[in-house]
């Protein structure tokens, strides 16, 4: 399992990996206009990371995916989601501050920069889900490799 798969799988993975990432970021970004959002897009991007891990093995991933960077990004995503809830604390907790006022993220419904704190929360939750699932998968695979070399 730590050796990776054949030449065909590795070549196709190199071609397809960027497209999966792009599609996942599109689903996260347009969460307030079309079906989707933070959780769904985060799962799509995490499946791209899992594909990379299965095709190249734990040894081939070593220089490319930094495990500590992924764990730090997950904590940043969780704290950003909590901080966005505190933005409108003058009226209520989780109050949507920018919606409807024509300013920063305040366009009327139907445009990309609308709906107040909704796109920002989508990004925070998407970052949290994708780095969380990626770090779980990497930790499970790296731990198993140490068992095989003994």
């Amino acid at each position: 399992m730590s050796k990776g798969m054949s030449v065909i799988v590795r070549t196709v993975t190199r071609c397809v990996y960027g497209m999966i990432l792009l599609y996942g970021f599109y689903v996260i970004m347009h969460g307030h206009l079309t079906p989707g959002g933070g959780f769904q897009g985060g799962a799509v991007v995490a499946s791209a990371f899992a594909l990379l891990l299965v095709a190249f093995g734990a040894a081939g991933i070593k220089g490319h995916l930094n495990r500590h960077l992924l764990q730090t990004l997950e904590e940043v995503g969780a704290l950003a989601f909590l901080a966005l809830g505190f933005l409108g604390i003058g009226t209520a907790f989780f109050y949507n501050l920018f919606a409807g006022t024509g300013g920063f993220f305040g366009a009327p419904a139907g445009q990309l920069l609308s709906a107040g704190t909704l796109p920002l929360m989508n990004w925070a939750v998407g970052l949290k889900v994708m780095t969380g699932i990626a770090s779980i998968v990497i930790v499970m695979m790296v731990g198993r490799r140490k068992e095989e070399t003994e």
């Binding site: 206009l33 907790f93 919606a99 419904a109 909704l118 989508n122 930790v139 499970m140 068992e147």
Partner: protein, 93 residues
Amino acid sequence: MKKATILVSLLFVAAFLLLAVSPGVMRPFGTPETTAMDDYFIDNAQTDVAANNAVTAVVFDFRGFDTLGEATVLFAAVVGILALFRKLREEER
């Protein structure tokens, strides 16, 4: 003997579940009973929240506190798994 007991109890639970969704006991499919809250959400999602997706408006704006709880559960699960595998690697050294 023990397997027969478990099989009989599983049949009881299966009969209870399948009886609870039969047409005499459960309301017919496609007719929700109380829709006052969801009608308010559908009518006011485009004007108050200015979002075109009513489900995202419900998840992050009208019921955002539930999403905070879910983000906490996901965070706790990831931290628990990372802590467990750290203990395993220290045990093997």
